[in-house]
Protein backbone atom coordinates (compact mmCIF):
# COMPACT_ATOMS: atom_id res chain seq x y z
CA UNK A 1 0.00 0.00 0.00
CA UNK A 2 1.49 3.39 -0.89
CA UNK A 3 2.12 5.60 2.10
CA UNK A 4 -0.33 8.43 2.43
CA UNK A 5 1.16 11.88 2.79
CA UNK A 6 0.26 14.39 5.48
CA UNK A 7 -0.93 16.79 2.79
CA UNK A 8 -3.27 14.20 1.26
CA UNK A 9 -4.50 13.01 4.65
CA UNK A 10 -5.43 16.55 5.69
CA UNK A 11 -7.53 16.78 2.52
CA UNK A 12 -9.13 13.39 3.14
CA UNK A 13 -10.06 14.41 6.67
CA UNK A 14 -11.48 17.69 5.49
CA UNK A 15 -13.63 16.09 2.81
CA UNK A 16 -14.68 13.41 5.33
CA UNK A 17 -13.28 10.69 3.12
CA UNK A 18 -11.86 9.27 6.31
CA UNK A 19 -12.53 9.99 10.00
CA UNK A 20 -9.95 10.76 12.65
CA UNK A 21 -10.76 7.45 14.31
CA UNK A 22 -10.43 5.40 11.13
CA UNK A 23 -7.19 7.10 10.26
CA UNK A 24 -5.59 6.51 13.62
CA UNK A 25 -6.86 2.95 13.94
CA UNK A 26 -5.06 2.20 10.73
CA UNK A 27 -1.83 3.53 12.24
CA UNK A 28 -2.42 1.75 15.56
CA UNK A 29 -2.82 -1.51 13.70
CA UNK A 30 0.51 -1.06 11.94
CA UNK A 31 2.27 0.00 15.14
CA UNK A 32 1.20 -3.26 16.76
CA UNK A 33 2.24 -5.29 13.72
CA UNK A 34 5.69 -3.71 13.71
CA UNK A 35 6.40 -4.11 17.42
CA UNK A 36 9.52 -6.15 16.60
CA UNK A 37 11.24 -3.03 15.23
CA UNK A 38 11.39 -1.57 18.78
CA UNK A 39 10.53 1.88 17.47
CA UNK A 40 8.78 3.08 20.60
CA UNK A 41 9.98 3.35 24.18
CA UNK A 42 6.47 4.24 25.21
CA UNK A 43 3.35 3.15 23.37
CA UNK A 44 -0.06 2.90 25.01
CA UNK A 45 -3.05 2.23 22.80
CA UNK A 46 -5.55 3.45 25.39
CA UNK A 47 -3.76 6.77 25.62
CA UNK A 48 -4.11 7.18 21.85
CA UNK A 49 -7.79 6.19 21.92
CA UNK A 50 -8.38 8.75 24.65
CA UNK A 51 -6.81 11.44 22.48
CA UNK A 52 -9.13 10.41 19.64
CA UNK A 53 -12.16 10.63 21.98
CA UNK A 54 -11.16 14.13 23.06
CA UNK A 55 -10.64 15.35 19.51
CA UNK A 56 -13.99 13.99 18.39
CA UNK A 57 -15.66 16.17 21.03
CA UNK A 58 -13.67 19.20 19.91
CA UNK A 59 -15.48 21.23 17.26
CA UNK A 60 -12.81 23.84 16.65
CA UNK A 61 -10.81 23.91 13.43
CA UNK A 62 -7.17 22.91 13.94
CA UNK A 63 -4.41 22.68 11.42
CA UNK A 64 -3.20 19.19 12.30
CA UNK A 65 -6.42 17.86 13.80
CA UNK A 66 -6.22 14.10 14.19
CA UNK A 67 -2.80 13.70 12.57
CA UNK A 68 -0.75 10.86 14.13
CA UNK A 69 2.68 12.12 15.14
CA UNK A 70 5.52 10.25 16.88
CA UNK A 71 7.62 12.12 19.46
CA UNK A 72 11.29 11.49 20.13
CA UNK A 73 11.57 10.50 23.77
CA UNK A 74 13.78 13.48 24.51
CA UNK A 75 10.79 15.89 24.49
CA UNK A 76 9.02 16.21 27.83
CA UNK A 77 5.37 15.25 27.55
CA UNK A 78 2.78 15.47 30.28
CA UNK A 79 0.68 12.61 28.97
CA UNK A 80 3.54 10.12 28.57
CA UNK A 81 6.76 9.31 30.47
CA UNK A 82 10.02 10.77 29.16
CA UNK A 83 13.23 8.75 29.46
CA UNK A 84 15.85 10.16 27.04
CA UNK A 85 16.48 6.40 26.52
CA UNK A 86 18.35 6.36 29.82
CA UNK A 87 17.97 4.25 32.92
CA UNK A 88 18.53 7.41 34.94
CA UNK A 89 15.16 8.78 33.74
CA UNK A 90 13.39 5.42 33.66
CA UNK A 91 10.51 6.54 35.86
CA UNK A 92 10.32 10.20 34.93
CA UNK A 93 6.86 11.66 34.33
CA UNK A 94 7.23 15.31 33.34
CA UNK A 95 4.84 17.72 34.98
CA UNK A 96 5.15 20.06 32.01
CA UNK A 97 4.98 19.94 28.23
CA UNK A 98 7.88 20.92 25.94
CA UNK A 99 7.37 23.96 23.71
CA UNK A 100 7.48 21.89 20.51
CA UNK A 101 5.05 19.20 21.68
CA UNK A 102 2.68 21.83 23.11
CA UNK A 103 2.54 23.50 19.70
CA UNK A 104 1.70 20.18 18.07
CA UNK A 105 -1.01 19.50 20.68
CA UNK A 106 -2.46 22.98 20.21
CA UNK A 107 -2.86 22.20 16.52
CA UNK A 108 -4.74 19.01 17.31
CA UNK A 109 -2.20 16.31 16.48
CA UNK A 110 -2.32 12.91 18.13
CA UNK A 111 0.80 11.55 19.81
CA UNK A 112 1.06 7.87 18.95
CA UNK A 113 4.05 7.26 21.21
CA UNK A 114 7.56 8.20 22.33
CA UNK A 115 10.29 6.98 20.02
CA UNK A 116 13.60 5.32 20.79
CA UNK A 117 16.92 7.17 20.54
CA UNK A 118 20.53 6.90 21.56
CA UNK A 119 20.82 7.57 25.29
CA UNK A 120 20.57 11.35 25.74
CA UNK A 121 20.90 11.59 21.94
CA UNK A 122 24.55 10.47 22.09
CA UNK A 123 25.15 8.10 19.22
CA UNK A 124 24.65 7.48 15.53
CA UNK A 125 22.84 4.13 15.47
CA UNK A 126 20.18 4.18 18.22
CA UNK A 127 22.40 1.51 19.75
CA UNK A 128 23.20 3.21 23.07
CA UNK A 129 19.55 3.21 24.20
CA UNK A 130 18.86 1.60 27.58
CA UNK A 131 15.76 0.12 25.92
CA UNK A 132 17.62 -1.77 23.19
CA UNK A 133 18.22 -1.17 19.49
CA UNK A 134 15.67 0.03 17.03
CA UNK A 135 15.70 -1.97 13.80
CA UNK A 136 15.70 -0.13 10.50
CA UNK A 137 12.39 -1.02 8.78
CA UNK A 138 14.27 -1.46 5.50
CA UNK A 139 16.27 -4.40 6.90
CA UNK A 140 16.20 -7.74 5.12
CA UNK A 141 15.13 -10.64 7.33
CA UNK A 142 18.55 -12.14 7.77
CA UNK A 143 20.43 -8.95 8.54
CA UNK A 144 18.96 -6.27 10.80
CA UNK A 145 20.24 -2.80 9.95
CA UNK A 146 20.78 0.25 12.14
CA UNK A 147 18.29 3.09 11.64
CA UNK A 148 20.99 5.67 12.28
CA UNK A 149 20.84 7.95 15.24
CA UNK A 150 20.28 9.53 17.53
CA UNK A 151 16.66 10.04 16.37
CA UNK A 152 16.56 6.48 14.94
CA UNK A 153 13.16 5.64 16.40
CA UNK A 154 11.52 8.69 14.85
CA UNK A 155 13.11 8.05 11.44
CA UNK A 156 12.04 4.39 11.60
CA UNK A 157 8.51 5.37 12.67
CA UNK A 158 8.08 7.43 9.51
CA UNK A 159 9.80 4.84 7.28
CA UNK A 160 7.56 2.05 8.59
CA UNK A 161 4.52 4.30 8.15
CA UNK A 162 3.63 4.26 11.86
CA UNK A 163 2.86 8.00 11.81
CA UNK A 164 2.54 10.89 9.36
CA UNK A 165 5.45 12.78 10.87
CA UNK A 166 7.80 12.68 13.84
CA UNK A 167 9.83 15.08 15.91
CA UNK A 168 13.57 14.70 16.28
CA UNK A 169 16.49 16.63 17.65
CA UNK A 170 19.77 17.24 15.88
CA UNK A 171 22.98 18.16 17.68
CA UNK A 172 25.55 16.94 15.14
CA UNK A 173 23.41 15.10 12.59
CA UNK A 174 20.85 13.25 14.68
CA UNK A 175 17.97 14.08 12.32
CA UNK A 176 19.69 14.15 8.95
CA UNK A 177 21.75 10.94 9.27
CA UNK A 178 18.87 8.66 10.40
CA UNK A 179 16.63 10.24 7.73
CA UNK A 180 19.25 9.19 5.18
CA UNK A 181 19.54 5.65 6.64
CA UNK A 182 15.76 5.12 6.69
CA UNK A 183 14.92 6.76 3.36
CA UNK A 184 12.78 9.58 4.73
CA UNK A 185 12.95 13.38 4.81
CA UNK A 186 14.53 15.00 7.89
CA UNK A 187 15.06 18.70 8.53
CA UNK A 188 17.13 20.40 11.21
CA UNK A 189 16.22 24.09 11.09
CA UNK A 190 18.44 27.03 12.01
CA UNK A 191 19.70 27.02 15.59
CA UNK A 192 17.12 28.98 17.59
CA UNK A 193 14.14 28.50 15.26
CA UNK A 194 12.41 26.03 17.59
CA UNK A 195 12.54 26.52 21.33
CA UNK A 196 14.62 24.01 23.27
CA UNK A 197 12.37 24.40 26.28
CA UNK A 198 11.37 20.98 27.63
CA UNK A 199 13.88 19.01 25.57
CA UNK A 200 16.37 17.07 27.71
CA UNK A 201 19.57 19.01 27.07
CA UNK A 202 22.63 17.41 25.48
CA UNK A 203 24.81 20.24 24.07
CA UNK A 204 22.89 23.46 24.41
CA UNK A 205 24.81 25.53 21.87
CA UNK A 206 24.04 22.90 19.19
CA UNK A 207 20.74 21.20 20.11
CA UNK A 208 17.88 21.95 17.77
CA UNK A 209 14.46 20.34 17.26
CA UNK A 210 13.26 19.32 13.82
CA UNK A 211 10.98 17.09 11.77
CA UNK A 212 10.85 13.73 9.98
CA UNK A 213 8.27 13.17 7.26
CA UNK A 214 7.46 11.17 4.14
CA UNK A 215 8.20 14.06 1.80
CA UNK A 216 9.35 17.68 1.58
CA UNK A 217 5.88 19.23 1.46
CA UNK A 218 4.89 17.46 4.67
CA UNK A 219 8.11 18.61 6.35
CA UNK A 220 7.34 22.21 5.40
CA UNK A 221 3.90 21.97 6.98
CA UNK A 222 5.17 20.38 10.19
CA UNK A 223 8.21 22.60 10.66
CA UNK A 224 6.02 25.66 10.56
CA UNK A 225 3.92 24.17 13.33
CA UNK A 226 6.82 23.69 15.74
CA UNK A 227 8.79 26.88 15.04
CA UNK A 228 8.45 30.09 16.98
CA UNK A 229 9.79 32.39 19.66
CA UNK A 230 9.70 31.30 23.27
CA UNK A 231 10.76 33.39 26.24
CA UNK A 232 11.79 30.32 28.23
CA UNK A 233 14.69 29.52 25.88
CA UNK A 234 17.25 32.33 26.01
CA UNK A 235 18.56 31.41 22.54
CA UNK A 236 15.12 31.23 20.93
CA UNK A 237 15.07 33.53 17.90
CA UNK A 238 12.50 36.28 17.49
CA UNK A 239 12.03 35.94 13.74
CA UNK A 240 8.96 35.84 11.52
CA UNK A 241 8.05 32.31 10.50
CA UNK A 242 6.96 32.27 6.87
CA UNK A 243 4.32 29.89 5.59
CA UNK A 244 6.87 27.47 4.17
CA UNK A 245 4.29 25.27 2.48
CA UNK A 246 2.39 28.08 0.75
CA UNK A 247 5.68 29.63 -0.40
CA UNK A 248 7.16 26.43 -1.87
CA UNK A 249 8.61 27.16 -5.28
CA UNK A 250 10.42 24.55 -7.36
CA UNK A 251 11.70 27.11 -9.84
CA UNK A 252 15.40 27.37 -9.07
CA UNK A 253 16.33 29.12 -12.29
CA UNK A 254 19.06 31.69 -11.66
CA UNK A 255 19.96 30.38 -8.21
CA UNK A 256 23.49 29.31 -7.36
CA UNK A 257 24.39 26.08 -5.58
CA UNK A 258 27.68 25.76 -3.72
CA UNK A 259 29.59 22.48 -4.00
CA UNK A 260 32.26 22.30 -1.27
CA UNK A 261 35.37 20.49 -2.48
CA UNK A 262 36.30 19.47 1.07
CA UNK A 263 33.31 17.09 1.16
CA UNK A 264 35.01 14.79 -1.34
CA UNK A 265 36.57 12.55 1.27
CA UNK A 266 38.85 9.58 0.63
CA UNK A 267 37.08 6.33 1.27
CA UNK A 268 33.60 7.62 0.50
CA UNK A 269 31.80 4.83 -1.40
CA UNK A 270 31.52 5.40 -5.13
CA UNK A 271 27.72 5.26 -5.01
CA UNK A 272 27.64 8.25 -2.69
CA UNK A 273 29.90 10.32 -4.91
CA UNK A 274 27.64 9.25 -7.77
CA UNK A 275 24.35 10.45 -6.22
CA UNK A 276 26.07 13.71 -5.32
CA UNK A 277 27.05 14.18 -8.98
CA UNK A 278 23.55 13.17 -10.08
CA UNK A 279 22.00 15.81 -7.83
CA UNK A 280 24.32 18.46 -9.21
CA UNK A 281 23.41 17.47 -12.78
CA UNK A 282 19.70 17.67 -11.99
CA UNK A 283 20.14 21.15 -10.55
CA UNK A 284 22.18 22.25 -13.56
CA UNK A 285 19.34 21.16 -15.85
CA UNK A 286 16.98 23.31 -13.83
CA UNK A 287 19.03 26.38 -14.55
CA UNK A 288 20.96 26.45 -11.30
CA UNK A 289 24.47 27.83 -11.51
CA UNK A 290 27.08 25.44 -10.11
CA UNK A 291 29.73 27.11 -8.00
CA UNK A 292 32.70 25.23 -6.59
CA UNK A 293 33.28 26.56 -3.10
CA UNK A 294 35.80 25.94 -0.37
CA UNK A 295 35.09 25.41 3.32
CA UNK A 296 38.74 25.06 4.34
CA UNK A 297 38.22 24.18 8.01
CA UNK A 298 35.84 21.27 7.30
CA UNK A 299 38.32 18.61 8.45
CA UNK A 300 38.48 20.22 11.90
CA UNK A 301 34.72 20.15 12.42
CA UNK A 302 34.56 16.66 13.95
CA UNK A 303 37.32 17.13 16.54
CA UNK A 304 35.86 20.56 17.37
CA UNK A 305 32.44 19.01 17.84
CA UNK A 306 33.81 16.20 20.00
CA UNK A 307 35.25 18.73 22.41
CA UNK A 308 32.34 21.19 22.54
CA UNK A 309 29.48 18.68 22.66
CA UNK A 310 30.90 16.52 25.51
CA UNK A 311 31.93 19.64 27.44
CA UNK A 312 28.40 21.00 27.34
CA UNK A 313 26.98 17.53 28.02
CA UNK A 314 29.11 17.09 31.14
CA UNK A 315 27.64 20.31 32.46
CA UNK A 316 24.05 19.63 31.39
CA UNK A 317 24.02 16.09 32.74
CA UNK A 318 25.24 17.20 36.18
CA UNK A 319 21.56 17.62 37.07
CA UNK A 320 21.00 13.85 37.16
CA UNK A 321 22.04 13.29 40.74
CA UNK A 322 19.36 10.99 42.13
CA UNK A 323 17.81 13.80 44.17
CA UNK A 324 15.25 15.64 42.10
CA UNK A 325 13.91 13.01 39.69
CA UNK A 326 14.66 9.72 38.07
CA UNK A 327 16.68 6.77 39.25
CA UNK A 328 18.50 6.60 42.60
CA UNK A 329 20.92 3.81 43.48
CA UNK A 330 20.25 1.65 46.55
CA UNK A 331 23.88 1.91 47.65
CA UNK A 332 23.65 5.18 49.51
CA UNK A 333 25.87 5.10 52.58
CA UNK A 334 26.68 8.78 52.18
CA UNK A 335 25.58 11.64 49.96
CA UNK A 336 28.68 11.35 47.74
CA UNK A 337 28.24 7.59 47.50
CA UNK A 338 24.68 8.16 46.41
CA UNK A 339 25.70 10.55 43.65
CA UNK A 340 28.52 8.35 42.43
CA UNK A 341 26.57 5.11 42.44
CA UNK A 342 23.43 6.65 40.99
CA UNK A 343 25.36 8.09 38.06
CA UNK A 344 27.52 4.96 37.63
CA UNK A 345 24.46 2.73 37.45
CA UNK A 346 22.09 5.19 35.76
CA UNK A 347 24.20 6.22 32.76
CA UNK A 348 25.33 3.94 29.94
CA UNK A 349 28.84 3.58 28.60
CA UNK A 350 28.78 6.18 25.82
CA UNK A 351 27.16 8.81 28.05
CA UNK A 352 29.77 8.22 30.75
CA UNK A 353 32.54 8.41 28.17
CA UNK A 354 31.29 11.81 27.03
CA UNK A 355 30.80 13.13 30.57
CA UNK A 356 34.36 12.09 31.43
CA UNK A 357 35.90 13.64 28.33
CA UNK A 358 33.81 16.79 28.81
CA UNK A 359 34.86 17.07 32.43
CA UNK A 360 38.49 16.68 31.42
CA UNK A 361 38.46 19.37 28.71
CA UNK A 362 36.75 21.79 31.09
CA UNK A 363 38.99 21.01 34.07
CA UNK A 364 41.50 23.48 35.49
CA UNK A 365 44.60 23.73 33.33
CA UNK A 366 42.99 22.22 30.22
CA UNK A 367 40.13 24.63 29.49
CA UNK A 368 42.17 26.91 27.23
CA UNK A 369 43.94 24.10 25.40
CA UNK A 370 40.76 22.23 24.52
CA UNK A 371 37.45 24.01 25.06
CA UNK A 372 38.52 27.56 24.23
CA UNK A 373 40.59 26.32 21.30
CA UNK A 374 37.57 24.41 19.96
CA UNK A 375 35.35 27.48 20.27
CA UNK A 376 37.86 29.46 18.23
CA UNK A 377 38.00 26.82 15.51
CA UNK A 378 34.21 26.79 15.58
CA UNK A 379 34.32 30.49 14.72
CA UNK A 380 36.53 29.73 11.71
CA UNK A 381 34.15 26.99 10.56
CA UNK A 382 31.17 29.36 10.84
CA UNK A 383 33.12 32.05 8.97
CA UNK A 384 33.85 29.57 6.15
CA UNK A 385 30.11 29.20 5.61
CA UNK A 386 29.47 32.94 5.87
CA UNK A 387 32.01 33.54 3.12
CA UNK A 388 30.65 30.71 0.97
CA UNK A 389 27.08 31.98 1.23
CA UNK A 390 28.16 35.28 -0.32
CA UNK A 391 28.65 33.31 -3.54
CA UNK A 392 25.77 30.82 -3.42
CA UNK A 393 22.15 30.48 -2.30
CA UNK A 394 22.41 26.96 -0.91
CA UNK A 395 24.93 24.12 -0.58
CA UNK A 396 24.50 20.50 -1.63
CA UNK A 397 26.46 17.56 -0.17
CA UNK A 398 25.87 13.90 0.68
CA UNK A 399 24.19 13.39 4.08
CA UNK A 400 26.21 10.45 5.41
CA UNK A 401 29.36 8.59 4.36
CA UNK A 402 27.52 5.27 4.11
CA UNK A 403 24.10 3.66 3.77
CA UNK A 404 22.58 1.98 6.82
CA UNK A 405 25.10 -0.45 8.35
CA UNK A 406 24.32 -3.78 10.03
CA UNK A 407 23.19 -3.52 13.64
CA UNK A 408 25.70 -6.03 14.86
CA UNK A 409 28.64 -4.26 13.25
CA UNK A 410 31.10 -3.76 16.06
CA UNK A 411 31.27 -0.15 17.15
CA UNK A 412 34.11 -0.50 19.62
CA UNK A 413 36.16 2.33 18.21
CA UNK A 414 34.53 5.62 19.28
CA UNK A 415 36.31 7.67 16.62
CA UNK A 416 35.13 5.39 13.82
CA UNK A 417 31.58 5.82 15.08
CA UNK A 418 31.99 9.60 15.25
CA UNK A 419 32.92 9.68 11.54
CA UNK A 420 29.26 8.99 10.70
CA UNK A 421 28.65 12.68 11.33
CA UNK A 422 31.38 13.97 9.03
CA UNK A 423 28.99 15.69 6.57
CA UNK A 424 26.42 16.87 9.11
CA UNK A 425 28.53 18.28 11.96
CA UNK A 426 29.97 21.36 10.19
CA UNK A 427 26.51 22.87 9.60
CA UNK A 428 25.57 22.09 13.21
CA UNK A 429 28.58 24.03 14.46
CA UNK A 430 27.57 26.93 12.20
CA UNK A 431 23.90 26.73 13.29
CA UNK A 432 22.68 26.39 9.70
CA UNK A 433 19.45 24.79 8.50
CA UNK A 434 19.92 21.43 6.77
CA UNK A 435 17.64 18.85 5.24
CA UNK A 436 18.27 15.29 4.13
CA UNK A 437 16.14 13.83 1.36
CA UNK A 438 16.29 10.31 -0.10
CA UNK A 439 18.16 10.44 -3.39
CA UNK A 440 19.26 7.21 -5.01
CA UNK A 441 20.27 3.83 -3.63
CA UNK A 442 23.38 1.77 -3.07
CA UNK A 443 24.03 -1.64 -4.65
CA UNK A 444 21.92 -3.35 -1.98
CA UNK A 445 18.95 -1.08 -2.73
CA UNK A 446 19.41 0.84 0.49
CA UNK A 447 18.51 4.51 0.36
CA UNK A 448 21.14 7.25 0.26
CA UNK A 449 20.58 10.84 1.27
CA UNK A 450 21.43 14.23 -0.16
CA UNK A 451 21.87 17.13 2.24
CA UNK A 452 20.91 20.71 1.40
CA UNK A 453 22.21 23.51 3.63
CA UNK A 454 20.97 27.08 3.67
CA UNK A 455 21.71 30.43 5.22
CA UNK A 456 20.51 31.19 8.74
CA UNK A 457 16.69 31.31 8.80
CA UNK A 458 16.48 30.59 5.06
CA UNK A 459 14.56 27.34 5.53
CA UNK A 460 12.41 28.37 2.57
CA UNK A 461 15.35 28.10 0.17
CA UNK A 462 16.28 24.73 1.68
CA UNK A 463 12.72 23.44 1.20
CA UNK A 464 12.52 24.80 -2.35
CA UNK A 465 15.74 23.13 -3.44
CA UNK A 466 14.76 19.91 -1.65
CA UNK A 467 11.34 19.81 -3.31
CA UNK A 468 12.88 20.42 -6.70
CA UNK A 469 15.34 17.54 -6.24
CA UNK A 470 12.67 15.29 -4.77
CA UNK A 471 10.39 15.80 -7.78
CA UNK A 472 13.17 15.05 -10.22
CA UNK A 473 14.02 11.81 -8.43
CA UNK A 474 10.52 10.37 -7.97
Amino acid sequence: MPKSSLKQTLKDLETKKISIRELNQDYLKRIKEKENLNVFIHFNEENVLKQIDNLEKDNSAKKLKGIPIAIKDLFCTKSMPTTAASKILENFNPTYESFVTQKLLDEGSIFVGKTNLDEFAMGSATSTSFFGNTINPLSKDNEPLAPGGSSGGSAAAVAADLCLGATGTDTGGSIRQPASFCGVVGIKPTYGLCSRWGIAAFASSLDQAGIFSHNVEDASILLQSIAGFDQRDSTSAKVDIPNYFENLDVDLNGKTVGIPKEYSIDGTPMEISQIWEDAIKVLEKKGVKIKNISLPHTKYALPTYYIIAPAEASSNLARYDGVKYGFRSNEIDSLDEMYENTRAQGFGREVKRRILIGTYVLSAGYYDAYYLKAQKVRKLIADDFNKAFKECDFIVTPTAPSAAFPLNEKQNDPIKMYLNDVFTVPASLAGLPGISIPFGEDKNNLPLGIQILGKHFDEQQVFNAALSLERSYE
Binding site: F92, K299, I307, S314, E337, K373, A374, A382
Partner: protein, 95 residues
Protein backbone atom coordinates in the same frame (compact mmCIF):
# COMPACT_ATOMS: atom_id res chain seq x y z
CA UNK B 1 49.67 9.44 27.28
CA UNK B 2 47.55 12.26 28.64
CA UNK B 3 45.21 10.23 30.80
CA UNK B 4 46.66 7.83 33.37
CA UNK B 5 45.13 6.04 36.30
CA UNK B 6 45.39 9.11 38.56
CA UNK B 7 43.83 11.43 36.01
CA UNK B 8 40.91 9.12 35.25
CA UNK B 9 40.23 8.77 38.97
CA UNK B 10 40.30 12.54 39.34
CA UNK B 11 37.91 13.12 36.42
CA UNK B 12 35.59 10.36 37.61
CA UNK B 13 35.51 11.96 41.04
CA UNK B 14 34.79 15.41 39.54
CA UNK B 15 32.03 13.84 37.44
CA UNK B 16 30.62 11.95 40.47
CA UNK B 17 30.72 8.68 38.57
CA UNK B 18 32.09 5.60 40.32
CA UNK B 19 34.26 3.47 38.04
CA UNK B 20 35.48 -0.05 38.67
CA UNK B 21 39.00 -1.09 37.63
CA UNK B 22 37.93 -2.61 34.33
CA UNK B 23 35.97 0.51 33.37
CA UNK B 24 38.85 2.77 34.36
CA UNK B 25 41.15 0.85 32.05
CA UNK B 26 38.69 1.03 29.16
CA UNK B 27 38.13 4.75 29.60
CA UNK B 28 41.87 5.45 29.85
CA UNK B 29 42.22 3.83 26.43
CA UNK B 30 39.17 5.57 24.91
CA UNK B 31 39.96 9.02 26.27
CA UNK B 32 43.57 8.90 25.19
CA UNK B 33 42.62 7.92 21.66
CA UNK B 34 40.00 10.71 21.51
CA UNK B 35 42.42 13.29 22.92
CA UNK B 36 45.14 12.24 20.45
CA UNK B 37 42.61 12.65 17.65
CA UNK B 38 41.41 16.13 18.69
CA UNK B 39 45.06 17.19 18.96
CA UNK B 40 44.90 18.04 15.23
CA UNK B 41 43.19 21.32 16.18
CA UNK B 42 46.64 22.57 17.16
CA UNK B 43 47.42 22.80 13.44
CA UNK B 44 44.90 25.63 13.17
CA UNK B 45 46.12 29.16 13.75
CA UNK B 46 43.56 30.78 16.03
CA UNK B 47 45.51 33.87 16.94
CA UNK B 48 43.18 36.89 17.32
CA UNK B 49 40.11 34.69 16.75
CA UNK B 50 37.22 35.29 19.13
CA UNK B 51 35.76 32.10 20.62
CA UNK B 52 32.26 31.42 19.37
CA UNK B 53 29.81 30.48 22.11
CA UNK B 54 26.50 31.62 20.65
CA UNK B 55 25.90 30.87 17.01
CA UNK B 56 22.56 32.60 16.76
CA UNK B 57 22.45 35.41 14.22
CA UNK B 58 19.13 36.73 15.43
CA UNK B 59 18.74 39.35 18.10
CA UNK B 60 18.10 37.67 21.39
CA UNK B 61 15.64 39.82 23.29
CA UNK B 62 15.92 40.22 27.03
CA UNK B 63 12.81 39.59 29.06
CA UNK B 64 11.36 41.86 31.65
CA UNK B 65 13.05 41.35 35.00
CA UNK B 66 10.06 40.38 37.10
CA UNK B 67 9.63 37.51 39.47
CA UNK B 68 6.90 34.95 39.06
CA UNK B 69 5.57 32.74 41.80
CA UNK B 70 4.26 29.56 40.30
CA UNK B 71 3.97 27.85 43.69
CA UNK B 72 4.64 24.50 42.11
CA UNK B 73 6.61 22.74 44.83
CA UNK B 74 4.22 19.79 44.88
CA UNK B 75 4.65 19.34 41.14
CA UNK B 76 8.40 19.66 41.41
CA UNK B 77 8.55 17.04 44.15
CA UNK B 78 6.34 14.63 42.25
CA UNK B 79 9.29 12.83 40.62
CA UNK B 80 11.65 12.88 43.61
CA UNK B 81 13.03 9.44 44.56
CA UNK B 82 12.71 10.46 48.22
CA UNK B 83 10.98 13.42 49.86
CA UNK B 84 10.05 14.57 53.33
CA UNK B 85 7.64 17.32 54.41
CA UNK B 86 7.85 19.30 51.21
CA UNK B 87 11.61 18.86 50.70
CA UNK B 88 13.90 16.58 48.70
CA UNK B 89 15.37 13.96 51.02
CA UNK B 90 18.98 12.73 50.75
CA UNK B 91 21.19 10.46 52.92
CA UNK B 92 22.28 12.04 56.19
CA UNK B 93 25.28 14.37 55.75
CA UNK B 94 25.86 15.53 59.32
CA UNK B 95 26.63 12.97 62.03
Amino acid sequence: MKIDKNTINKIARLSRIKLDDKESEDYIKDLNSILDWVEQLNEVNTENIEPLSNISSSILPTREDVSKDANSSDEILENAPDKLEGFFAVPKVVE
